[in-house]
Point group: C2
Chain length 316, copies 2
């Protein structure tokens, strides 16, 4: 496979992140156009608009960035890496649209704008989320994404496994339960191990899959695939502890959404379990664990190393 990635060691992480975010935005804009794909009958304008509201105009696009950077290690062409990254991002956006619903986390704003069910309505938001999820698999399975059907099927499987009942959706289920939404109505005090499992499912599984998918695109040998999954798992965990810390320390303006919500809801976080200082130490440990997993790679993995530190140290 030919590489369209010149490697500039002085390309800063911020520049690379911004470039990928711009390319992903443009790709999503095209995927969420009124144009029909073969086999589609009509795209209802209200549904397209709600999907665009949920997927365009914001976010760090960290997940597609991880896919692109992981794929880069194996010389994967940029168009393919970006398509697969866009599929991962569509899946991430679906999860935000559904998590924001009144029956779930009941959030009115996201990235400083009204959430989809606020800008439209609940029924439309449910369908927009469903359609973003479905489109993610459509994009992965389409021959444009990779010439090999074996690879495309592997991409679909990795994404589905990370997103489903044993991954992200299951993690959201555990989160609702921990908040006391069922049964007694009392929030549960989860132990550290339970919190880690919840977070590994709710956020970690998709972050890990973002890295894994880049490696699958590039036909990574088993040992490198395993190393990259270990990297992704540690990065995902670091990212989530950082999120718990930001909820305590950041302002709503920095995050574009309400803060101090976790504590108010009695939410299970590692800040609650380990204390603020303990959580920060754990965040840094996980970030170093992610970097250590890349020991078998050379300078070509420096951006991924920087991404692990960024995931831990981000301010929004």
């Amino acid at each position: 496979m030919s590489s369209s990635h010149p490697r500039h060691a002085d390309d800063g992480l911020a520049v690379r992140l911004a470039q990928t975010a711009e390319a992903i935005e443009s790709l999503l804009d095209g995927l969420l156009s009124p144009d029909l794909l073969e086999g589609e009958i009509a795209r209802p304008p209200r549904l397209v608009a709600a999907m665009r509201h949920g997927a365009l105009g914001g976010g760090k696009r960290l997940r597609p960035f991880l896919t692109v950077e992981s794929a880069r290690l194996f010389g994967v062409g940029m168009p393919q890496a970006l398509r697969a990254g866009a599929a991962v991002e569509l899946l991430h956006c679906y999860s935000l649209v559904h998590d924001d619903l009144p029956a779930m986390d009941d959030d009115d704003t996201r990235r400083g704008r009204p959430t989809v069910h606020k800008a439209y309505d609940e029924g439309t938001a449910i369908l927009a989320g469903d359609s973003l999820l479905t489109l993610a698999f459509d994009v992965m399975a389409d021959a444009v994404t990779h010439p090999s059907g074996e690879v495309r099927a592997a991409l679909v499987l990795a994404l589905a496994r990370a997103a489903g009942l044993g991954g992200m959706a299951g993690g959201q289920m555990l989160d609702l339960a921990a908040e006391g939404r069922f049964g007694s109505g009392q929030a549960s005090v989860l132990g550290e191990a339970e919190i880690r499992q919840l977070q590994a499912m709710k956020t970690g599984a998709l972050l890990m899959a973002s890295v894994e998918i880049g490696a699958l695109l590039g036909g990574a040998p088993e040992s490198q695939l395993t190393a990259l999954k270990r990297y992704g798992r540690a990065l995902g965990a670091a990212f989530q502890v950082a999120d718990d810390i930001l909820d305590v320390e950041a302002s709503p303006e920095q995050l574009g959404k309400a803060t101090a919500k976790d504590q108010d809801k009695g939410k299970a976080t590692l800040v609650a379990a380990l204390g603020l200082d303990g959580a920060k130490r754990e965040r840094d440990r996980l970030s170093e664990e992610a970097v250590a997993a890349l020991a078998g790679f050379g300078a070509e993995a420096d951006t991924l190393r920087a991404a692990a530190r960024f995931a831990a140290e981000r301010k929004s």
Copy 2:
């Protein structure tokens, strides 16, 4: 590919339907077990239970039946045909769980039992639907379903295209809009062409895909694939007109759900557009169109021919 389908001309449609339904039930029971697949972290029991509530214990399993019978034309082994059929059924069940939600059709019962959000709660029902949808793609992409990655990717794509914004989800969006859920709050009077498009998306696309997926499993040549899609499209339309007619003529006990709902909601149906007699003539015409599409097949397609008549003449 070896065939495990002995062809008995005297196998009645009802017997075949019942056999497939039993096999699908058993397969879904296994897929929705607490056992983790590789890559899954944990399966929260409440989520598994809600998914089982939404997917097990009922339904004619018409869609997997169409997949199995279409695959049979090409000698596809039963285990593969049933796996792909189970994926189609998971996707169908997801759509029922979400369509029943208060923000959508707001139904309390389904197949004579409480709907998932009634038996559990709205948040759990949303997640159960999401997870059934995701699992459908997981099953299609898994190597157990077909040895060829090319075929598995094609299965995923056919399913996603039928289910997404340009298919089933888009059709539900049009349906909510026609009921006057947005804007003026008035139900729209849709013309016959608009009703046909809505129904082709909401119900037709997945029924057609059920047939198409069987043909893809069997590596059908292009001409036969086209014929089977034409069959599936006509059958899907006949099925939906029959549904409109049943809503007027059947009792709630026959259907296991409320009837005369369409009229109460000012819902766009072909009964409203063509009158009851006109709708019955249209149903029969579509059923014959489906049969005619199979002209290139011999006696091996007799069960599909009978299925087209069944879809039109069913009493529940």
